[in-house]
Symmetry: C5
Subunit: 153 residues, 5 copies
């Protein structure tokens, strides 16, 4: 099993390292390939290269968009690219984007970022192992904060 | 006949289960393959995998976008991806998105979600069976609430 | 010659029927294949299926987006999908979208819808017959209302 | 050398004719294929057909979006389609869109439209002839009005 | 090693030249192919042609969007096209867009533009040489201004 990590030098936290450690701790048999690029708009092709050239079974794409409108637009463009990359490869790419304006301060930003990165690494491991997530379907699960309230059938 | 159900752990209601039960009750000969992923942006490739790897004839893609602007944007990106997935496979993917801000409270949200999910499951069954929907064309049919008023020719 | 008509049960007027009648009256040699789906986001793949599976030479895609922002967004997504479907097939798909908020009341909405549908059916017939539209180029032609004023060279 | 011109009957000025005349006057050896369609959203596939079915080496895509928000959105969708058509064919498509709200009145609109069309025809001729435009790089060149001020290195 | 530079005549600064000089000074073994086109929406296919027809290993795409809303929209469309071009070729295209409204005056605009162009040329050289950027991951690196503050693990 091979898991790709695509991250950026634009981000303010080394979340790629957090992802690496989380995967190692929870899926010791996985090989990890990490590929760092300048910004989030470089992520789509990076993920595709990790899948097609490095034979990764799944990729975690990590980015930290800034606060400006242009940053939001870049994140939107990157997200669309990541969706298309998945459609071209039939592989999952788990997007871990942490928006700078989600937090009031750096401490909170770090908490959100760590929580989201770690939980999505577990998601990626489960998906690539074929673990059935349907038992958590509709569970209101959130990454980067506490879960939403589940509404029971 | 094989019907795929793609849903998320982000959603607050287990609508995948509602879809499963609706299909079983209305199309007992259909095989169902369910595939749950973390969020709506994971749905496009999931639907494509259900079609290409699991040989589903049609897929129902269920998501519950939250109230924040970023949630709206994710839904938009997912919808575009679902449209592209259909164009790449020549198969229908019936999108069942229930936006959290469509309802005043959880009770109403559940009613909308159940109605939309059930009606769209029937739509999917009709489409995959080749049932001619033209008799309902221009009927103002709505999923998630009462129909709009038909304007007669 | 084979002309496809893709329309929806969401629409409030049976414009697919109007299109059928217009084509029959103006191009009696054309075979017509009609395919009705739930909503406008189902149209792109429907048009592609009409072209690739039913061998239609051209398709008329009819939808009636509602008044809500989400309806506008769905129309935008559908339009992009219809453009991509054309690029994938090298066939024209004539989009006939009638937005509910174009009119003050149902009577006016019906007038707009009929005018747009009929005129675009003639456009489709001309395109598929290879009739040269350049004599009308820059003519300010409108479907759904009166033409704009032409500015002469 | 073969140059395609794709234009619309929606436009209020016959800019396709202006393009034809400009190309004839500046590149007498070029064969011209003109293809007129109803609206700007029909342009992407028209350009692709001109390239793939008529063997055009380059296409000029001319449209005149109206003033309404929906017109703006159509122009956006058409532009994306034109970009994708280029990526699918590896040929340039020079977009000449003149927005009705660029001008205060019809006289000004015509001036903008003529200037933009003519200059972009010259651009197209230069591109298809392999003429090196780098000598004008960063020159602040504008089509449809006077150039922006160049900032020197 | 072959590096492509795609730039425009619309830009107000000859940043293509700045890029050429930066690459020559920092990667003397690289062959450079420069391709100048009218505007930013011409960049996606230009980059793809540089990769597929000129065998460039990486491309730097330089544009200077103006201040108007339509310029912003063009930049958005170009960015999406550049992302798709990368996905179609599995090569990086480093986008260097300098928005006119990022600066208060031309002097500042030039400073931002030079800094961004030079830094991204170094990024491109590093990527194409396979230099591991992970040591800078999460470093808050910015092009066009000073870096953001890194948040340590």
């Amino acid at each position: 099993m091979k898991i790709g990590i695509a991250d950026t030098t634009f981000a303010r936290i080394d979340l790629g390292k957090v992802a690496e450690e989380t995967i190692k701790a929870n899926c010791c048999e996985a090989k990890i390939v990490r590929y760092t690029v300048p910004g989030i708009k470089d992520l789509p092709v990076t993920c595709k290269k990790l899948i097609e050239e490095e034979n990764c079974d799944i990729v975690i794409a990590i980015g930290m968009p800034g606060k400006k409108p242009i940053d939001k637009q870049c994140a939107h463009e990157a997200s669309l690219g990541i969706i298309i990359a998945q459609l071209m490869t039939n592989k999952h790419i788990i997007e871990v984007f942490v928006h700078e304006d989600e937090a009031e301060n750096d401490k909170e930003l770090k908490e959100i970022a760590f929580d989201r990165t770690k939980k999505h690494c577990i998601n990626a491991i489960n998906l690539v192992k074929g673990f059935n997530l349907s038992k958590f379907a509709g569970g209101g699960l959130r990454q980067g904060g506490k879960n939403a309230e589940k509404i029971y059938l």
